[in-house]
């Protein structure tokens, strides 16, 4: 019966969170409305990152590659070939998945620091490629999707992704999809093996699991989710540029996840939200806002070493996935 109670709590918590996010759109002023939509997409990216780092224990410093693969896979195909946005989204996500599998086959031969470096190198190569093919991507300057490219019909309904309400709910749908995938995965037998690999890979192998296959699966799903977030980003916010493939977009999800709680399902959203508004608010009042951001990060590490959701879980809610 204990299990059943935990199930109810878990679904209660996450469905409650989804409901709050849905209702938020009716009370938020315009400015924050856009911000929260952006945060939901970035939080999906963070959730994808967390699958690998938080649940499988593999620290990647190259996830910008997967995010940007989704971004460009969707963006370029729509920009140049007028692809249907839904197809563009699928194509972008698939591109990220392919990159993740390819990188995984090579990078997973390494562990620890070497894995960080190898993933970072791949991502840097991808970043440099986006600059090198400047004539197509327009490099740092980037490309903007035309408004008509973001209007489409799907199952008899007309969508305009420039419309704030549509945008918010699309972002929410992406986030909810990601949340449910993560929740079901980490509570499944496969998720249990991923956590076991994080905790003790050698022991997991001696329990009859081919750890490498599970790590490749985790990396693939992580890349797919990151890519889906990237594809959604270009559709919802119309812009794609090399910045998104740069090293800071590999570091950011790490910070969001550390802040929110490594290896928690809700942590990535909390971390992304907090970091976004921390930068937003402090940069309003001073130009040296990064000092404040840095100080806050230090304080959080001191008082919430497991991140916000992670620390809350350890103290009050062990049942939280």
């Amino acid at each position: 019966m204990r299990l059943r109670l935990a199930d109810r709590r878990i679904w209660g918590l996450h469905l409650g969170l989804i409901a709050v996010l849905f209702l938020l759109q009716f009370v938020l002023p315009d400015y924050h409305h856009t911000n929260v939509a952006r945060i939901l997409v970035l939080a999906t990216y963070a959730m994808g990152y967390n699958l690998l780092v938080g649940y499988t224990g593999l620290l990647s410093l190259g996830h910008a590659m997967f995010f940007a693969a989704g971004l460009y896979g969707a963006g370029l195909s729509i920009y140049y070939f007028d692809l249907h946005p839904v197809l563009g989204f699928l194509l972008g996500s698939a591109a990220a998945l392919v990159f993740a599998i390819a990188v995984g086959l090579i990078a997973l031969r390494t562990t620890g620091v070497a894995f960080m470096i190898v993933t970072m190198m791949f991502a840097q190569a991808f970043y440099l490629a986006t600059l090198y093919f400047n004539s197509i991507t327009r490099g740092d300057e980037g490309l903007v999707l035309a408004p008509e490219a973001r209007r489409f019909a799907f199952f008899g309904l007309d969508f305009d992704l420039a419309e704030p309400v549509t945008r918010y709910n699309m972002a929410l749908a992406l986030f909810v999809g990601g949340l449910i995938v993560c929740l079901m995965l980490v509570r499944s037998p496969v998720g249990r093996v991923m956590v076991a690999i994080r905790e003790n890979e050698e022991r997991t192998r001696m329990l009859g699991y081919n750890a490498r296959d599970y790590k490749l699966l985790a990396l693939s799903l992580s890349g797919l989710l990151s890519g889906a977030a990237g594809a959604a980003y270009v559709l919802l916010f119309a812009y794609m540029g090399s910045t998104f493939a740069g090293i800071q977009y590999s570091i950011l999800p790490l910070l969001w996840v550390l802040l929110g709680g490594v290896g928690t399902v809700v942590g990535p959203l909390i971390g992304t939200l907090l970091m976004f508004y921390l930068i937003d608010k402090t940069s309003e009042v001073m130009s040296s806002y990064l000092i404040v951001v840095g100080a806050v990060l230090v304080l959080l590490v001191l008082f919430f070493p497991k991140g916000i959701a992670g620390t809350l879980r350890a103290r009050y809610a062990r049942w939280m996935p």
């Binding site: 496969v190 192998r205 001696m206 329990l207 009859g208």
Partner: protein, 244 residues
């Protein structure tokens, strides 16, 4: 039929022959103890059998199949289960979660793991495995917070839940109290009703009480093999243990 047989099994680390030309044969259902001084190569030998360490040369046959080239996880699926000398439970997970990893593996031995697994059945088998080692009421506790002796028992429960044909216990009673050792011996006897047991052990009382046969190792080779009585009477063995 031979259950497990190694032939000319060897492993060197650098220039050191940790295991050299070992021919070991087990019959199904027996409890075999491996004893020997520190550094005799006991742990290396069972590591070779479980696949944690690849051999330098030689071969291993299990139930008629050559398993020399199989990966450790493939050997687990065939029923060769190793429990660690240095307790190696998942410290941050609960006892139930620790054992569930074994249970779901045993349930998906011959099919992909992402296919449906009955979670009630997993819970039931987790409970059963923990009950067998006497930890049934503590399934929700975190493994790292258990007393050392209980962690060893959890380690055994994880091995049991894999439904082993050959269970390798590497110094299982190290660090246990007298009472815990007595309980442990009783448990091993029950386990041996449906599994063959290969036991590395320093505590001679435990070896004498449990083993059907004893293999003595010294300097990476097999020094002697026989019933407990034969081994006790063996002059070579006494020499290896006590020095010349």
């Amino acid at each position: 039929m031979t259950f497990l047989a190694t032939s000319a099994l060897s492993r060197s680390f650098g220039g050191l022959a940790a295991v050299a030309n070992v021919d070991l044969a087990l019959v199904p259902g027996e409890i075999r103890a491996i004893i020997g001084p520190n550094g005799a190569g006991k742990t290396t030998l069972v590591s070779l059998i479980s696949g944690r360490v690849p051999p330098s040369s030689g071969s291993i046959v299990f139930e008629g199949d050559d398993i020399t080239d199989l990966k450790p996880w493939e050997r687990v699926l065939r029923g060769i289960v190793y429990t660690f000398q240095i307790t190696s439970v998942f410290r941050n997970l609960t006892l139930g979660e620790n054992v569930a990893l074994s249970v779901q593996r045993a349930l998906t031995r011959d099919r992909p793991i992402w296919r449906h697994i009955d979670s009630d059945l997993v819970a039931e088998e987790v409970k059963a495995a923990l009950d067998r080692v006497g930890l049934g009421l503590r399934a929700d506790e975190v493994a790292g917070e258990l007393a050392y002796g209980h962690q060893r028992l959890l380690e055994v429960a994880m091995g049991l839940a894999l439904k082993p044909k050959l269970l390798i216990l590497d110094e299982p009673t190290q660090g246990l109290s007298e009472q815990e050792i007595a309980d442990f011996c009783a448990l091993v006897r029950i386990i041996s009703l449906d599994a063959t047991i290969l036991l590395i052990e320093h505590n001679m009382d435990v070896v004498m009480a449990l083993a059907d046969r004893i293999t003595v190792m010294n300097n990476g080779t097999l020094l002697a093999e026989g019933t407990p009585d034969e081994i006790m009477a063996n002059a070579e063995v006494q020499c290896a243990y006590l020095g010349n």
